[in-house]
Symmetry: C2
Amino acid sequence: MTAGYELEDKVLLAVDCIIFGFDNGDLKVLLVKRDFEPEKGKWSLIGGFLKKTETLDDAARRILHTLTGMHDIYMEQLYTWSEVERDPAERTISTSFYAIIDIKQHDKELIEHHNAKWFSLSNAPKLIFDHDQMLNKAIMRLRRRTSISPIGFGLLPEKFTMKQLQKLYEAILDRKVDKRNFINKIKSMDILVKLDEKDMSSSTKGSYLFMFDQEKYDAKQTKDFYLKIS
Amino acid sequence: MTAGYELEDKVLLAVDCIIFGFDNGDLKVLLVKRDFEPEKGKWSLIGGFLKKTETLDDAARRILHTLTGMHDIYMEQLYTWSEVERDPAERTISTSFYAIIDIKQHDKELIEHHNAKWFSLSNAPKLIFDHDQMLNKAIMRLRRRTSISPIGFGLLPEKFTMKQLQKLYEAILDRKVDKRNFINKIKSMDILVKLDEKDMSSSTKGSYLFMFDQEKYDAKQTKDFYLKIS
DNA sequence: GACTAAAAGTGTAATTTTAACATTTATTAT
DNA sequence: ATAATAAATGTTAAAATTACACTTTTAGTC
């Protein structure tokens, strides 16, 4: 019993990771300076090649860890890119993944040691190959996803204010939202716990801190519920 | 200037097509009996391998044509599957594509000559490898897509009745929808033209035929408008 | 030619959701 | 005591969604 696969072409399969970071109301993307040919020295997404012994998700995690030191980042598969000439050096197909993380929660030094750098979306450099397209598609997906189901876990400190949460949504959606409508919408979702504690750092009055209620959140996740921000 | 790719693993990259067909109120999927090892003789999605000289979309079109005789089918990329052991014969990654077509508009003989066969979703056989997962994911995507933006072109005869259109939505969403609400919703979308002609085949009264208004449809497509069926 | 049968066609009212909008409250620092 | 600063809060109008049932048309039959 031989498989009839002998005559088929084999190709390089790459993985590219689009890591969005949220910091201080600003949405950024993590890029690396490429240290091998072709396009050595240019900025690119965080990428590498799939090994035979791992899944694409494994590869994405390994590559992200190798190039930035980050780990335990949940990434979601986005799209597989296969233009014949996308990498001029050799026929390479690439599957892109994306994630969004809280920049503050990840060790800046680790990232910088690995000559990766955060860029605001508005002034990211031109990227190699089709990486600009990948980035664009990821932004679109992130926005759509954000208006469909709640994000948040892992993107904010464990305890956060409503304002911080609102800023996060505003950064992703790239527009202002009405404070009262936003708070009402979030409340109606019933996935947050209001704490007795206040954050005093930004006003004399102080603002209440909230936490996600993991259990309630998970319960709703399954029913893929819908969040639309006015 | 040598590319630093020499040491990387190369893999087989497959394409699998999930072709949904709509016929007579029933949603079906097109499957083929596999004629090579492994799993020879079992039912599978319409699949084959990417060649070095083509994109994934090219490969999907070529494979679909080879196995079924169909052409000019627009397929959308769904997901790339990479479990290490998904194909026991050799390390193979597969990108799945899906499409939905009007069965009547495609030549049955051609399809049957190629030992492909339509199965109702409710009694499709068990498929090889991870093809059941692929099919499931495609169904989910199709449903979600259907409630987000209008489908229809190419899925119905050029002229069709409201009932046919409703049946199409019901087949995809797998539930009944209210006739009056459905018609109102569709009318409010303003992408159909009512003809003076009636279809007399299903009642003494006859029911008016409609056509899609391609121009209006295209205009709305760009603004990715939203259709939600009650 | 009246009646029956079968599917097509049609509208309204109640409810829910969304969107727009401005003032009061709490606290620290002066 | 006052001023300054950001936090907290509720209402109303408009739009969208849902639930729901009777009338119309016409071919066929008695």
